[in-house]
């Protein structure tokens, strides 16, 4: 993502050297070349993202029955989704509860991945001197992606399950008498799995911002008498902000839409915005699923807009 942004922001820089030499008779304009560069990605986006998205929005306003879509305007997908939201007050309706849970998980995962990811990136950027080691160590963070969800599910039971390693270890040390149940199929296990998966998405952009911090700035802060903490708060964090925001956007968008990990680790008993969509699709209720997808998109978009208000990514890059 950051690469695309880079290309769009700095179109003039890249063609400069190439065109000067090659283009004598027909000199391609810089803007044409930058269109060429951005074009393929734009076409992919148009064909596989924007157009389908338009269809999703259209279908979300259709009606349906047990076996087909009825292309007539209907708000049923939306009204059904918000069913009981006013009538059940002060209790939350289904969609309210679902989003509350999704946001809660999202916030916990975001806070933990940010904390962990920041320090991993800090370590990589400032304590690991060799470029090779920096590369090697950051590749280690991708290990969780080497396994599939099914494998992970099978792997977590022997570890966190009722008769798993952690429980039997704790029982042997005499810390507990009965197995601890909340280790698995709980909010705890969901957050654990998501953090374990997605900290990587935090580490990479923050690391990327940090290595670009001019070391002389840190020396200057030190010479001016700043403590380590003051340097961190006043120099490093502000300069690492773009990385923090990009990492946060990655983590938040992924967790908002996730239902597989939440389902597997939550024992299918924890609601997720994506899960509602899946249930609806499986019941062939496409307009209702589309309406839920539009709602999810709107909420995620809102969060990201708020975040980019805090930091102007374009400017900072």
């Amino acid at each position: 993502m950051s690469e695309e942004v880079l290309q769009q922001v700095t179109p003039g820089l890249i063609p400069g050297s190439g065109t000067a030499r090659a283009a004598k008779p027909t000199r391609l304009s810089a803007s044409f070349i930058s269109w060429l560069q951005a074009g393929p990605m734009m076409l992919v986006f148009l064909a596989f993202f924007l157009i389908p998205l338009v269809f999703v929005v259209i279908v979300s306003f259709w009606d349906y029955n047990e076996y087909q879509l009825l292309p007539a305007f209907s708000g049923r997908g939306y009204t059904d989704t918000f069913e009981g939201c006013i009538a059940q007050l002060p209790d939350l309706c289904t969609i309210g509860k679902t989003y509350l849970m999704t946001l809660k998980l999202c916030f916990m995962v975001w806070a933990i991945t940010l904390f962990v990811g920041f320090w991993v990136a800090y370590f990589l950027a400032f304590h690991v001197k060799s470029k090779t080691w920096q590369m090697g160590l950051s590749l280690l963070c991708t290990i969780p992606f080497w396994t599939s969800n099914v494998i992970r599910m099978i792997a977590w039971i022997p570890l966190l399950g009722r008769n798993g390693l952690v429980n039997s270890g704790l029982m042997k040390t005499g810390l507990i008498n009965h197995p601890v149940e909340w280790l698995l199929f709980s909010e705890f296990s969901v957050v654990l799995a998501l953090v374990h998966l997605f900290t990587f998405f935090m580490v990479v952009p923050i690391f990327n911002s940090m290595v670009r911090i001019d070391k002389s700035l840190i020396e200057a802060a030190y010479d001016a008498g700043a403590t380590g903490f003051q340097t961190l708060v006043n120099v490093i964090i502000p300069l690492a902000k773009p990385g923090i925001v990009i990492g946060s956007i990655f983590v938040i968008t992924i967790v908002m839409g996730d239902f597989i990990t939440i389902g597997v680790m939550g024992g299918q008993q924890i609601a997720a915005a994506g899960k509602i969509i899946e249930t609806r699709v499986n019941a062939l209720q496409f307009p209702a699923a589309a309406a839920n997808a539009v709602i999810l998109l709107a909420i995620t978009f809102l969060i990201i807009t708020m975040m980019s208000r805090i930091v102007d990514i374009k400017k900072e890059l």
């Binding site: 047990e66 599910m153 199929f185 024992g267 609806r280 019941a283």
Partner: protein, 429 residues
């Protein structure tokens, strides 16, 4: 179907082989003749869309040997099979699906009923499908989408189910079974005889149900009825009030921490049970066998309120005609001629034509699987692996006892849309 991932290994393998074979055929013929379609038009190929239950490499191989028809499996989950019929009716020839999907499939007009007169063994199909009773004359519970309610159409292109027998059959029956709760007798240590035990606080945090709304709610209804809270007119077709009531009972249990996890696929159910995370849960017969083959005691427990049953069968896509339709009939006739039936019986399912399957099984196998007698010799799966040692008796006993004990059938309710919304509410609670 519910059966989707019972044999995920097999299905994935056959799927891969199928696609590879198809690619190979296309590439090979193209390279040699330059007319890729000439060869495929000569070969008798049927694209077979279905869930993994009826599919097996051995069945496809035997079929090719006996009839020259090459079966190309397209394997998907029940939901995805239905979705595919709705959205891409030309992407398959033969459809293998469950009776309860018919309420969605028939009105769509995307499937073609088969002619009973062209099915050789049609009159030998078990009366479970045609009359709703066992061969021994036991009446079978008809709640839900019982096959005999949706077996016939009024006419060739009709979208209405006929109330009496006609020549137009929606699905030619192939396989069915009776499902119940699986338990871990070594951890429960006492007899279990009722569905109500699923919500017994004794098993708090150790119970599980199926996370497929239309089936999960029927298991829930069995529990509600067994605990004496309510008696349904039809568990497979509840009113909104009945759905509310059922989900309320389940929500209370969920909030009280009764359920360890809900499961959706075969392997999940096996893992939950084998690891001892759950000791009582809705389950499928081959999953119980799998747990047992790992050396862990597991019983497919017959319960006094009866079984929840399911059944599936064959029809063809509306796009199938001419020679292809003839092959489809040839294939369905072959399927009912015994080899496939015996294969399915040996996995713990039941075949639609019992007489032909019996002819393809050893007498001791038939006695164990169908008559509920103790196994005279070791019982082996179709792939040769050991399922039960000599002396074992099948859980639930004979065909008569198990099918005769069916209380209700997998179903799609009239209030399906409302039910799905309530199910989401239940998950969010």
């Amino acid at each position: 179907m519910t059966e989707t991932t019972r044999k995920i290994g097999v299905s994935r393998r056959t799927l891969l082989k199928g696609t590879a074979g198809l690619a190979g055929l296309a590439a090979g013929s193209g390279a040699i003749t330059g007319f890729p379609y000439v060869k495929s038009a000569d070969a008798k190929v049927l694209r077979y869309l279905g869930t993994a239950v009826n599919e097996g490499d051995d069945i496809a191989k035997q079929c090719l040997k006996d009839t020259g028809i090459k079966i190309e499996y397209i394997t998907a989950t029940t939901d995805d099979v239905t979705k595919r019929v709705m959205t891409q009716p030309n992407s398959f020839d033969v459809l293998d699906t469950e009776y309860f999907s018919l309420k969605k499939l028939v009105p769509s007009g995307n499937i073609l009923a088969l002619d009973a007169k062209k099915i050789k063994e049609f009159n030998n199909i078990t009366p479970v499908f045609t009359k709703g009773e066992t061969p021994g004359g036991k009446k079978i519970g008809g709640q839900g989408t019982a096959p005999w309610k949706v077996l016939y159409l009024e006419g060739k292109d009709s979208k209405k189910f006929a109330t009496s027998a006609t020549d137009f059959v929606t699905l030619i029956p192939t396989v069915y079974n009776a499902d119940t709760l699986g338990i871990r007798p070594d951890l429960i240590k006492r007899p279990i005889s009722s569905w109500s035990e699923l919500l017994n606080p004794e098993f708090k945090g150790k119970a599980s149900i199926l996370n497929i709304p239309s089936i999960g709610i029927m298991d829930a209804a069995m529990v509600v009825e067994a605990s004496g809270k309510y008696k349904y007119a039809d568990k497979g077709n509840m009113t909104k009030e009945e759905i509310d009531l059922t989900m309320k009972v389940m929500t209370e249990a969920k909030k009280a921490g009764q359920f360890r996890a809900f499961w959706k696929d075969f392997n999940e159910s096996v893992n939950l049970m084998a690891s001892g995370e759950t000791v009582i849960q809705s389950m499928w017969s081959p999953a119980v066998t799998k747990v047992r083959s790992m050396g862990i005691p597991c019983t497919f427990q017959p319960l006094k309120e009866g079984y929840r049953s399911w059944a599936s069968g064959f029809c063809v896509s509306k796009g199938v005609s001419g020679a292809k339709l003839d092959w489809a009939y040839e294939f369905v006739n072959w399927f009912l001629s015994g080899y496939a039936g015996a294969y399915l019986n040996r996995q713990g399912y039941y075949s639609a034509v019992l007489s032909t399957a019996k002819a393809h099984m050893e007498p001791y196998e038939w006695a164990y699987w169908m008559e509920g007698k103790p196994a005279e010799k070791d019982i082996k799966a179709p792939d040769g692996s050991l399922l039960e040692k000599a002396g074992a008796v099948r859980d639930g006993g004979s065909y008569e006892d198990r099918m005769g004990g069916v209380a209700c059938w997998n179903a799609v309710m009239d209030e399906n849309d409302y039910m799905v919304r309530k199910w989401n509410e239940f998950i969010a609670a």
